[in-house]
C-alpha cells in the first residue's frame, strides 16, 4: 500500500512538473528588442494595475516568458498562440512586493529548432497606485451615429468592465436615446452626472442612491447642456450650453467635425435648483469649463464667433469659416462668498500660434493644465494632428506631452485624483478608434511613456469598434444599476429648469 502511495505521489509530482513551464537552458542570445503588442516596454505602471497580458510578435512555435523583480517569486509562463496570459494573483503579489522597483520580462521564443532569448523587457513599478476605476463612454468612432453608445466603468485592478447605461437599453425598450457626456465629482463615483438626449431627454444627477432627473428648457437656452464641471466644494455645476452641428469632410483625414454655432456658460445651483448664465456673449463661443481646485476660478475655452451672413447658405459659410474658429484658454474669477463671477482673464492665447485649445484639465494641485491642441475647433479628437500639451500655470510654459502623444489624434486627457497618473484618449493605433493610454506623471512634472489599458485578450482592442470617450479616473465605482437609471430616465423629471434671466 505504501508503495502505491509513493508511486502516486511521484506520478502527481511528475505530472505537475510536466505542466509547469521551464525556462529554456540552452538559448541563442538576441540583443535586439523583442516585439510585443501592446507596447508594454519601458513603461511605468501602478502596482495595482491588472495583468499586462501581451502578444509576442516574433516568429515562434513555442514561447516562454519569465516575469521577475527584486522581491518575490518569478513567474514562468507558457505562451498560448503567442499570447502571454499572466495569472492575476501572482502578478498582483509581485507588483505589491516591488513598489518603486523595476519589473523585468524575459522572453524566449522557439523557432527553427532552437530557443532565442531576447533582451529583457524592463518596466518600472511606481510607488503610487492608480485610482482603481475608469469611467468612459464607448461611442462609434465617427461620432455621428449613436445606437451602440454607452457609459461604462472598468476596474483597473481586474478586467471587469460594467455597463452603466447605454442607448441599447433604450432601443430595446422602443425608445431612441443618446447617452451624452458624463462628469464625476472629485473622482468620487458616488456623485456624478450624465445627459440623455432625444426621447426622455434630461440631465441625470446622481448622489449616492439618489437619482434626479432635471429637464432643461432647451429652447430657452438656445442649445443643450454639454460639458459639465462640478465645483470642488459647493453644490454648483458649471455647464457649457452648445448649439452645434456635425458635418462631414470630403477628404482624408478629418472625416467628421462638430462646429459650434453658439455656446455660452451657465451655472446650476443644485440646492436652489436654479440655472443662471455665467457668460452670455454674442460675439464669442465659450465652452468646456473646468474649476480650479480651490473653486475660485473657472477655466474655459473661448473663441471669436465668425460673422454669419444670412444671404449665403450655411454650408457655404461653414466652408469659409470653420477652420478659422480657434479657441483660447480663458478664466473667470468666482467669489464663493458673494456667489458672483468677476473679471475674465485670458490665461493663454493659443490663437497667436494659429492653433486651438480644447478640453482643459487641471491637475489636483492646480499647477498643471492638460490641454488638447488642434488646428481649429473644440473637438481635437476628430483631427489627426491634435496633441496633448502641458501648460505650467506658474511659469506659463507650455510643451507637448511628448511621450504621451502618438502619430494620430490625442484628443482628451485627464488626471487621477492624486495627480500622479494621466489617462489619454488616443487614436495612435489606427487613426480612428481612441483607446485609453495611462501615463505616470512624476513630482518633477515629467511624464513617462504611457501604456495601453490592459485587456484579457489583446484582440479585444482590435475587435472593439468603438472609441473610448472622455475617460475619467475614479476612486470608487458608480453604484447605480442600469435598471435604476432606466426607470428614472423613462419617468417624469423631478425638476424643470430654465435660465434665470428668462424666467
Amino acid at each position: 500500500m505504501a508503495r502505491i502511495n509513493l508511486l502516486l505521489i511521484f506520478l502527481t509530482l511528475g505530472f505537475l512538473s510536466a505542466c509547469t513551464p521551464k525556462v529554456p537552458d540552452q538559448t541563442v542570445q538576441n540583443a535586439g528588442e523583442v516585439r510585443i503588442t501592446p507596447d508594454y516596454i519601458d513603461v511605468t505602471i501602478p502596482y495595482n494595475i491588472a495583468p499586462l497580458d501581451f502578444r509576442v510578435m516574433e516568429p515562434a512555435d513555442r514561447i516562454r516568458a519569465v516575469i521577475r523583480s527584486e522581491q518575490g517569486r518569478q513567474m514562468v509562463l507558457r505562451g498560448r498562440h503567442k499570447n502571454i496570459d499572466i495569472p492575476a494573483k501572482a502578478w498582483r503579489k509581485l507588483l505589491e512586493q516591488n513598489k518603486g522597483k523595476d519589473l523585468y520580462i524575459d522572453i524566449y521564443t522557439h523557432h527553427d529548432g532552437h530557443w532565442t532569448q531576447f533582451r529583457p523587457v524592463c518596466n518600472h513599478i511606481a510607488a503610487e497606485a492608480v485610482d482603481p476605476w475608469l469611467s468612459y463612454r464607448l461611442i462609434e468612432a465617427g461620432y455621428t451615429s449613436y445606437g451602440a453608445t454607452g457609459l461604462f466603468q472598468r476596474n483597473l485592478e481586474t478586467f471587469d468592465e460594467r455597463l452603466v447605461y447605454s442607448n441599447a437599453i433604450a432601443s430595446d425598450n422602443g425608445r431612441t436615446q443618446a447617452v451624452g457626456g458624463h462628469a464625476v465629482r472629485q473622482h468620487n463615483g458616488a456623485e456624478w452626472l450624465f445627459q440623455v438626449r432625444d426621447e426622455d431627454a434630461g440631465l441625470m444627477l446622481v448622489n449616492h442612491d439618489d437619482i434626479r432627473k432635471i429637464e432643461v428648457m432647451a429652447d430657452s437656452l438656445g442649445g443643450t447642456l454639454m460639458f459639465a464641471a462640478y465645483h470642488p466644494t459647493l453644490p454648483l455645476i458649471a455647464f457649457s450650453v452648445n448649439h452645434n452641428m456635425q458635418v462631414l469632410h470630403s477628404t482624408l483625414h478629418e472625416r467628421t467635425d462638430i462646429i459650434d454655432f453658439a455656446s455660452d456658460l451657465v451655472l446650476y445651483d443644485m440646492q436652489r435648483q436654479k440655472l443662471s448664465y455665467i457668460l452670455r456673449t454674442e460675439d464669442r463661443f465659450e465652452t468646456q469649463p473646468v474649476w480650479s481646485p480651490d473653486g475660485a476660478k473657472l477655466f474655459y475655452c473661448s473663441a471669436a464667433c465668425p460673422e454669419w451672413n444670412d444671404s449665403v447658405s450655411i454650408n457655404a459659410q461653414l466652408n469659409m469659416a470653420y477652420n478659422e474658429i480657434r479657441y483660447d484658454l480663458h478664466a473667470i474669477s468666482y467669489d464663493a462668498g458673494q456667489g458672483r463671477f468677476g473679471a475674465v482673464d485670458t490665461v493663454f492665447r493659443f490663437t497667436r500660434g494659429n492653433v486651438s485649445a480644447a478640453f482643459p484639465n487641471l491637475s489636483p494641485d492646480g499647477r498643471y493644465m492638460l490641454v488638447s491642441m488642434a488646428r481649429y475647433g473644440s473637438f481635437p479628437g476628430l483631427q489627426h494632428i491634435s496633441d496633448i500639451y502641458l501648460l505650467d500655470l506658474e511659469t506659463r510654459d507650455i510643451a507637448p506631452l511628448d511621450p504621451v502623444n502618438g502619430n494620430y489624434a490625442d484628443g482628451f486627457a485627464s488626471w487621477s485624483s492624486d495627480g500622479r497618473w494621466i489617462v489619454v484618449s488616443s487614436c495612435r493605433d489606427d487613426g480612428q478608434y481612441a483607446r485609453p493610454y495611462i501615463a505616470y506623471f512624476d513630482t518633477g512634472g515629467k511624464v513617462r511613456k504611457p501604456f495601453l489599458l490592459p485587456q484579457r485578450r489583446q484582440m479585444e482592442h482590435v475587435t472593439r469598434l468603438a472609441s473610448y470617450n472622455t475617460p475619467t479616473f475614479m476612486r470608487s465605482p458608480f453604484t447605480i444599476s442600469p435598471r435604476q437609471l432606466y426607470r428614472k430616465i423613462s419617468g417624469p423629471a423631478d425638476v424643470f429648469i430654465a435660465p434665470a434671466d428668462q424666467e
Binding site: E140, D172, N173, V247, T251, R255, D257, I314, M459, T463
Partner: protein, 618 residues
C-alpha cells in the same frame, strides 16, 4: 438483398417500394427544402449571412450573446448561418434540420395512414416562415433566425416527445415537468414557453393529472418566469426580452401558425400517450398518392412563399455589386419593366462605375415610375437602398464611412467591414485597414476576402492596378469641403476636376428635379464639355430655358430639333386637362425625355444639401 443487387427489376421494386413509403416522402421533402432554399432562394440566403459577423471565440462577441436569454441557441444559429456563404451548403443544413423536425414530430405524434402526412406540416410551415421574410429582412437585425427557429422547434418537439414517454409514471412525469422547461430555457430561452404550453395541453388532454403534475408545472412556469424576469426583464418594456430568441414580429404569423400546428398535434395525439394500442389505419399511406400529396404540399409552400420579382432582382444586384460586375448590373436592371427605387439606385451606381455605359447618356433611359415594395410589414423604403448604396459612397470618400458605422451599430456585418477596409485602403490608412482585416480574418469564410486583400498592405501601390480602385482613387476629392449629412446625394454631387464628376453632379441635380441647380452646375462646366452635352442635358437646358429662365437658352447651343420638341411638349402639357391621359399621350409622342421625367416621374423625396437648393418643378 443479394437478389435485388443481382436483379435490376428487384432493385427497381425496392426503389419503388421506398418511394411509395414514408422514406420516399421524406426524400421528396428533403430535396425540395434543400433546392428551394439553396437554388431558388440562394441570393436571399447569401444576403442573410451578410448580416452575420461571427467571431466565435471573441470575448466581447460571446459576452454580447450570453447576456441575452437563449444566447446559446443564437450562438449555434449564428455559427450555422455562416454556411449561407455557400447557399447550397447552408441550405443542406437547414433542410436536414427541417427533415429532423419532421422525424421528431412523427416520433411524437405517430399518426397513422394519410394523417401521417401531417407530420410534414410543422416543417413546411417553418420553411414558409423563413421564405416569406421578403423586405423585412432589412429590418430584422438578428441574422440567425432561420436556424434559431429550426433548432428551437426541434428542441421543443424533442422535449415534448420525452415528456410523453413519461405517461403513467407520476414521479418521473413530475420530475420531467420540473426539469424540462428549465433545461430548454437554459439552451433556447423563450422556446421553453412552448414546451410549457405543450406539457400543459398534454397533461390536460390525457387526464393523467396526478397530484404532483400541476403544482410542478406551475413551479416550472414560475421558475422560467423568474429566470426571464431576473435576467433582463428589469427594464420597463421588457417584452422583447421575454420572447427572445423567438423570431420577432416580422415572422410572427407564419411562425405562430407553426407553433399552433405543433400544439394542435399535441392535443390531437395526446390520447395515444396513455399507452393504448395503436389502431391500424383504415387506409395505409403507401403508394404514389401520398407521395403526390407531399409534393403538392411542397409546391404550395413554394407558391405561398415571398416570390416578388423585384425583391429577387435587388438581391441579385447586390450580389453583382459585390462582384463589381457593373455592366451585368445595368443589363439586369434594364430587364425590369416596373423597377423599385432600389433597382434604380443600383443601376445608377453601376452606370457611374461602368466603362461601357455612360451615366449622362443612359441614366434617364429608364422607368422612374417606381413600383412600391410589397411586404407583409411596413418597411420604410429608404432603408432598403440605404445600406449598400451608401456603403458604395463610403468607398470613394472616407467621410461617408459614418454610414458604414450606422450599419455597425446593429452588430457590424462583413459587408460593412469590407467597405470600411476598402475605404481605408483607397485613403491609404493602412493601420485602420489592418484592424478591419484582422477582424475579418477571424471569420470562417470572409477571411477568404481578407486574405486576398491583405497583400495590398504590403504594397499599397498595387491597389492602383485594380480598375475598380483606380477608378475611385482617380475620382477622390482633392479639395476639402464640409457638408451636412445627405448620404445619397454625395455619391454624385461632388464636383471635381474631371468630366465624370461634373456629369455625376448634373445627373444628381436632374434626378432630384433641381433644374436651377442643374443650370448652375452646368455653368461651372468648362466650355468644351458644355458644348458636347448628351441629348438629355440639352433637353434639360431647353426645359429650364422655357420654364424658368430664358437666358439659359442663350448660353448654350441647343439643337433646334430638341428645342422645338420641348416647346411642343410644354404646349401640349399646358393644354391638357386630363393629367393621366396626357402622361400616356406625351410619352407615346415624345418618348421618355427629360421634360417627361421632370413632369411625370415620382418626385425624389430626399433632402438636397443646402448648397444644391434650387427650384423644384412639379
Amino acid at each position: 438483398m443479394n437478389d435485388s443487387r443481382n436483379n435490376p427489376s428487384a432493385g427497381q421494386n425496392a426503389l419503388q417500394h421506398f418511394m411509395q413509403g414514408a422514406g420516399g416522402r421524406r426524400l421528396v421533402f428533403f430535396l425540395f427544402a434543400w433546392l428551394f432554399l439553396g437554388l431558388y432562394n440562394s441570393e436571399f440566403l447569401y444576403k442573410i449571412q451578410q448580416f452575420n459577423l461571427f467571431i466565435g471565440h471573441d470575448r466581447l462577441f460571446l459576452a454580447n450573446l450570453t447576456q441575452q436569454q437563449g444566447g446559446l441557441l443564437v450562438y449555434a444559429g449564428r455559427y450555422l448561418t455562416q454556411f449561407f456563404y455557400f447557399p447550397l451548403v447552408g441550405a443542406l443544413m437547414a433542410a436536414a434540420l427541417l427533415s429532423l423536425l419532421e422525424l421528431a414530430v412523427a416520433h411524437m405524434a405517430r399518426l397513422q395512414g394519410y394523417k401521417s402526412l401531417l407530420h410534414f406540416l410543422p416543417s413546411m410551415l417553418l420553411l414558409l416562415a423563413q421564405t416569406t421574410t421578403g423586405y423585412y429582412l432589412y429590418l430584422h437585425w438578428e441574422p440567425s433566425f432561420p436556424f434559431v427557429a429550426e433548432i428551437g422547434m426541434l428542441l421543443v418537439v424533442g422535449a415534448l416527445a420525452l415528456y410523453r414517454r413519461t405517461a403513467g409514471k407520476p414521479v418521473l412525469r413530475a420530475a420531467t415537468a420540473l426539469l424540462l422547461p428549465v433545461a430548454v430555457y437554459a439552451v433556447s430561452g423563450s422556446f421553453a414557453w412552448i414546451v410549457l404550453c405543450g406539457m400543459a395541453l398534454e397533461t390536460w388532454r390525457t387526464g393523467q393529472r396526478s397530484p404532483a403534475v400541476f403544482p410542478t408545472l406551475l413551479m416550472a412556469v414560475s421558475l422560467a418566469g423568474c429566470i426571464t424576469a431576473g435576467y433582463r426583464l428589469f427594464f420597463a418594456g421588457g417584452h422583447a426580452m421575454l420572447f427572445r430568441p423567438l423570431p420577432d414580429a416580422g415572422f410572427i404569423e407564419p411562425f405562430g401558425i407553426t407553433l399552433l400546428a405543433v400544439l394542435a398535434t399535441i392535443w390531437l395525439t395526446a390520447r395515444r400517450s396513455t399507452g393504448a394500442a395503436l389502431k391500424p389505419a383504415a387506409v395505409p399511406a403507401t403508394g404514389w398518392r401520398p407521395l403526390l400529396i407531399t409534393a403538392v404540399g411542397c409546391a404550395v409552400t413554394a407558391f405561398a412563399s415571398y416570390r416578388d420579382a423585384n425583391f429577387r432582382t435587388e438581391l441579385r444586384l447586390q450580389r453583382l455589386f459585390e462582384q463589381q460586375a457593373w455592366d451585368m448590373m445595368v443589363e439586369t436592371a434594364d430587364q425590369v419593366k416596373h423597377p423599385t427605387r432600389t433597382i434604380s439606385a443600383y443601376r445608377a451606381m453601376a452606370l457611374a462605375y461602368s466603362s461601357t455605359y455612360s451615366l449622362g447618356d443612359n441614366f434617364f433611359d429608364f422607368n422612374f415610375d417606381y413600383l412600391p415594395v410589397k411586404c407583409r410589414k411596413e418597411v420604410p423604403e429608404r432603408m432598403l437602398y440605404f445600406a449598400d448604396f451608401e456603403l458604395c459612397a463610403a468607398v470613394p470618400n472616407s467621410a461617408f464611412r459614418w454610414n458604414a458605422e450606422y450599419a455597425a451599430q446593429y452588430g457590424f456585418r462583413p459587408a460593412t467591414l469590407k467597405a470600411m477596409t476598402m475605404a481605408a485602403l483607397v485613403n491609404r490608412e493602412l493601420d485602420l485597414a489592418t484592424k478591419y482585416l484582422k477582424i475579418l480574418n477571424q471569420t470562417t469564410f470572409h477571411k477568404i476576402w481578407a486574405l486576398k486583400t491583405t497583400h495590398y498592405l504590403n504594397d499599397i501601390h498595387t491597389l492602383y492596378d485594380v480598375p475598380f480602385y483606380r477608378d475611385i482613387i482617380d475620382r477622390m476629392p482633392s479639395e476639402d469641403t464640409i457638408e451636412d449629412f445627405n448620404g445619397i446625394t454625395h455619391l454624385f454631387s461632388y464636383i471635381g476636376e474631371d468630366a465624370e464628376m461634373y456629369e455625376r453632379a448634373l445627373v444628381t441635380a436632374l434626378y432630384y428635379k433641381r433644374i436651377d441647380t442643374f443650370c448652375a452646375k452646368l455653368g461651372q462646366l468648362p466650355g468644351s464639355l458644355a458644348q458636347n452635352m448628351p441629348v438629355y442635358f440639352q433637353e434639360a437646358v431647353a426645359f429650364a430655358g422655357l420654364s424658368v429662365d430664358p437666358s439659359y437658352l442663350e448660353k448654350y447651343d441647343i439643337p433646334a430639333v430638341v428645342l422645338s420638341n420641348v416647346r411642343e411638349f410644354q404646349r401640349q402639357l399646358n393644354a391638357t386637362e386630363n393629367w393621366e391621359d396626357a402622361k400616356h399621350d406625351l410619352k407615346a409622342q415624345f418618348g421618355r425625355t427629360i421634360p417627361y421625367y421632370m413632369v411625370f416621374s415620382e418626385a425624389a423625396d430626399y433632402n438636397f444639401p443646402e448648397t444644391g437648393t434650387g427650384t423644384i418643378l412639379y
